[in-house]
């Protein structure tokens, strides 16, 4: 066929190769796919190195790794879940899974297949949950009245928590890591103590204590902010 050495080594399917030759664009395909493959390999090596450092307890390398993989995770999840809020929740679930199972990464293997396996598993789990919820729940435009008295039927916008959402977010940022994780898992994700313990690796007792302290700190912080 008279291919060059570069063409022989390039992993372009034969049909595509022939079509490209007709168009006279073989070199362009060769070079761009080679560059992409090389960039992917380089990226994988970097992620693998960061993960190895993370397994040894290097928080900075771990932070770089997690921040770097988020776009890939968003791409994987958004292929199957259209709702951006739900997709972001799934991305966070994947990050928690990666954290819990980081000991299962074998440094002698590429990092990306390890990550995508976990991401796909969690996405499928999330889809199952969404379908199950869809079968049981009915969407309503307005919340039904709970009690006859008007003051018990405030709209969410009037609710102090909603009104102070940003303030609460800022107050959450002031908490130590353990307390923040406890609030995130138990209150925001509404996990049970057992689930939160399995996800975070903290004991149930430690989670209870962290939650108690977090609520106390938040009360104090919010009171100060309200007075201001």
């Amino acid at each position: 066929m008279g291919y060059t050495e570069t063409e022989k080594n390039c992993h372009v399917p034969q049909k595509r190769r022939k079509a490209a030759l007709k168009r006279g664009g073989m070199n362009r395909i060769d070079h761009s796919s080679e560059r992409q493959a090389s960039a992917r390999q380089e990226r994988d090596r970097q992620w693998s190195a960061w993960m190895v450092q993370a397994q040894d307890g290097d928080g900075q390398a771990y932070q770089q790794l997690l921040a770097a993989v988020v776009p890939l995770l968003r791409a994987i999840v958004s292929k199957r879940i259209n709702d951006p809020d739900k997709a972001e929740d799934v991305v966070q679930e994947i990050l928690l899974s990666v954290h819990k199972n980081r000991h299962t990464y074998d440094p002698s293997l590429p990092f990306t297949p390890w990550l995508t396996t976990i991401a796909q598993r969690r996405t499928v789990d999330a889809l199952r949950k969404i379908y199950r919820q869809g079968e049981r729940e009915t969407l309503v435009d307005e919340y039904p009245e709970t009690f006859i008295e008007d003051e018990t039927n405030t709209s969410p916008e009037d609710d102090l928590v909603f009104a102070m959402g940003d303030e609460l977010n800022r107050a959450l940022d002031t908490l130590p890591a353990g307390q923040r994780i406890a609030v995130e898992l138990l209150k925001l994700r509404e996990m049970t103590l057992k689930e939160a313990s399995e996800t975070s690796g903290m004991s149930v007792a430690a989670l209870k204590v962290a939650m108690h302290r977090a609520l106390k700190s938040l009360r104090g912080e919010m009171a100060t902010r309200t007075e201001l």
Partner: protein, 230 residues
């Protein structure tokens, strides 16, 4: 109010502790065989010794084992069983580690097919010898203690090993683990159990192993919960 992904990353990376890396499936397989096989053989021999004392009163289980080890066909069957245990065990452990090839489930196909073929041939020979009136698939309760004794350790140790990994394809992993634990337990049965390992015995072996895996998984969750709340 949302807890942003950036906040979550900051929480997860703060005060990060080192972790012990999961050993390769090959090393964990060696550990499984080294721990579970001797226990399975010892328990199997002890139970059979009791049965011999009660039922037969004459021969020792080790005499039977030596007899079978010197028989060519028994050795081929034993090799197929052991190979099924090793390949299915490796595949179960590999599929419980993300990033490893999920095609590992193909490994035990040939050894398991060979084992089934030998069992089928045994059944056919037995059927020809004793005739349709005597041949029965009814449960033999006297065999059950041997099945339990030989199958418990492989199943329990396998569950502990799988708990350290991550089940990304639970159905495949559990099926492979069941096959592996059944096969390793069958080594003891093939050596010490007086009747030949027929399809019936294999069926009971699989049922027993599924039971063990279920019980071991429940016990493991219980201990994890206890450890988490301690």
């Amino acid at each position: 109010m949302t807890y942003t992904t950036e906040n979550l990353i900051a929480s997860l990376t703060q005060d990060l502790k080192p972790v012990q890396r999961l050993a390769s499936p090959g090393k964990r397989l060696l550990g499984w065989v080294a721990l579970a096989l001797p226990v399975s053989l010892v328990l199997g021999a002890l139970v059979e010794q009791q049965s011999f004392a009660i039922v037969l009163g004459a021969r020792e289980p080790f005499e039977l084992a030596f007899e079978r080890l010197s028989n060519g066909r028994s050795l081929v069957e034993l090799a197929a069983i052991l190979l099924t245990a090793l390949t299915a065990g490796y595949a179960a452990l590999a599929t419980a580690q993300p990033g490893r090839s999920q095609k590992a489930w193909l490994l035990p196909v040939l050894p398991f097919a060979a084992w089934l073929a030998l069992v089928t041939e045994s059944c056919f020979t037995l059927y020809q010898q004793i005739g349709p009136d005597q041949f029965s698939f009814a449960p033999h309760w006297t065999c059950y203690p041997s099945v339990v004794a030989t199958g418990a350790a492989p199943a329990l140790v396998m569950v502990l090993l799988l708990k350290r990994g991550m089940l990304t394809s639970p159905t495949v992993t559990v099926a492979l683990a069941t096959l592996a634990a059944s096969a390793l337990g069958a080594v003891g049965l093939r050596l010490f159990h007086p009747p030949d390992a027929t399809a019936l015995l294999l069926m009971w072996q699989l049922i027993a192993t599924v039971t063990f895996l279920g019980l071991a998984a429940l016990a493991s969750s219980y201990w994890t919960r206890r450890a988490a709340s301690a």
